[in-house]
């Protein structure tokens, strides 16, 4: 028991490896030089010599930056700074099975927040064609088995995000989905608010933004009640 109390006060010593340090140093270097995408970087051997470490270490650090999409390396040319895909790194880590429960809960709530905040973008950008498609999804739900419904649930909410015209947001949602599914499966209450998908489509067609916000809240209500 006392050991756990200790752990809170005394964080374990984490000796940074050379690769850790070099990674930071290189990142600092990129920032300090205010390099822009496309600019080329020194070659590995030069970096190694300048930093006073083996090329091995430099490569480990670069391997990380490469994974994040910050730099690209090409034979003979050397390295060039690239525009990283900010969600790429995220995707690799977001496995419900290895995330701790507190974070899992946070992410669950994060999705609720996103979904509640969607309305403004939605009403600014929705088109008749979008709504038609959305309606088709909602209508296909009638008299279907549970498995189909889950698939449709994903399709419907996915379409909503898509309608915002915000690619990053949409990808973000796709990433968060497994977490959401995992958590709801855990709680395993068969949940559906007073307003279903068809209800939301109706509002989208005829109602105001405020109507939609209220509708979405009712739709997600079981989740909110569970907070």
């Amino acid at each position: 028991m006392a050991i756990n109390d200790l752990k809170k006060d005394l964080a374990p010593i984490t000796s940074n490896t050379m690769a850790d340090i070099v990674e930071v140093r290189i990142r600092e270097y990129l920032k300090r030089m205010s390099l822009k995408p496309g600019d080329s970087l020194p070659k590995e051997t030069d970096l190694a010599e300048a930093l006073g470490v083996s090329r091995n270490v430099v490569r480990e650090a670069l391997s990380r930056l490469r994974m994040l999409g910050m730099v690209e390396t090409r034979k003979r040319k050397g390295m060039v700074l690239a525009s990283p895909d900010i969600l790429q790194a995220f995707e690799r880590v977001l496995d419900p099975l290895i995330i701790d429960d507190a974070t899992l809960k946070d992410i669950f709530e994060l999705r609720l927040v996103l979904e509640m905040g969607l309305a403004d973008l939605l009403y600014a950008r929705k088109t008749d064609k979008d709504i038609e498609e959305l309606e088709a999804i909602a209508n296909s739900e009638i008299d279907k088995d549970k498995f189909f419904l889950i698939k449709n649930e994903i399709a419907f909410h996915g379409k909503l995000y898509e309608m915002t015209g915000n690619t990053t947001l949409r990808r973000f949602q796709i990433m968060l989905m497994p977490v959401f599914a995992y958590v709801t499966a855990l709680v395993d209450k068969p949940k559906s608010g007073k307003i279903d998908h068809r209800g939301l489509v109706d509002i989208l067609k005829n109602g105001t933004k405020e109507n939609f916000k209220k509708g979405m809240y009712e739709h997600l209500r079981p989740h909110f009640d569970h907070l």
Copy 2:
């Protein structure tokens, strides 16, 4: 000009290096074995032999997983699976200067969506003490210079996120802040909606959740109008 158009449609061929492949293979391995945090993994030399690559390559792959916090390596013991900090990877990449414009715009909107969706969590969790503190921040804004106001803007909205009791959300906001600041600085319209911080506090004290949502929309309105 034509070259840039081409780049969008024809992504350059990216030959996967061994490290890329090994990274995926190890990740698959972790998943397939359904390992839980704390479980130990084979040692580097065994992995290298099993995969038929040099230890070097394995170390590059592991270096990436270590950076993401997925695994921890300890001398003699080998590696153990860890609970990754999902935002850690994010933080490294989220530099407004190296993110492309489209994504920058997406992230800007993402923050708007978050802020609009905050209300439900906020009303579920806010305490009197929170509101007091928030009010103090809002009141300290009177008759201050521009620099102070920017600092205060951050403090105020930060406090809102904090009040949700959602750590991940709060950290997320902290990360998004530089992007938001960068984009607004770019647009450089001195923006402030009809409702200011003190107005929001008033609603939080006496108004309903719906009032708050409308208030927040008005507060952020200049940004929405700019969509």
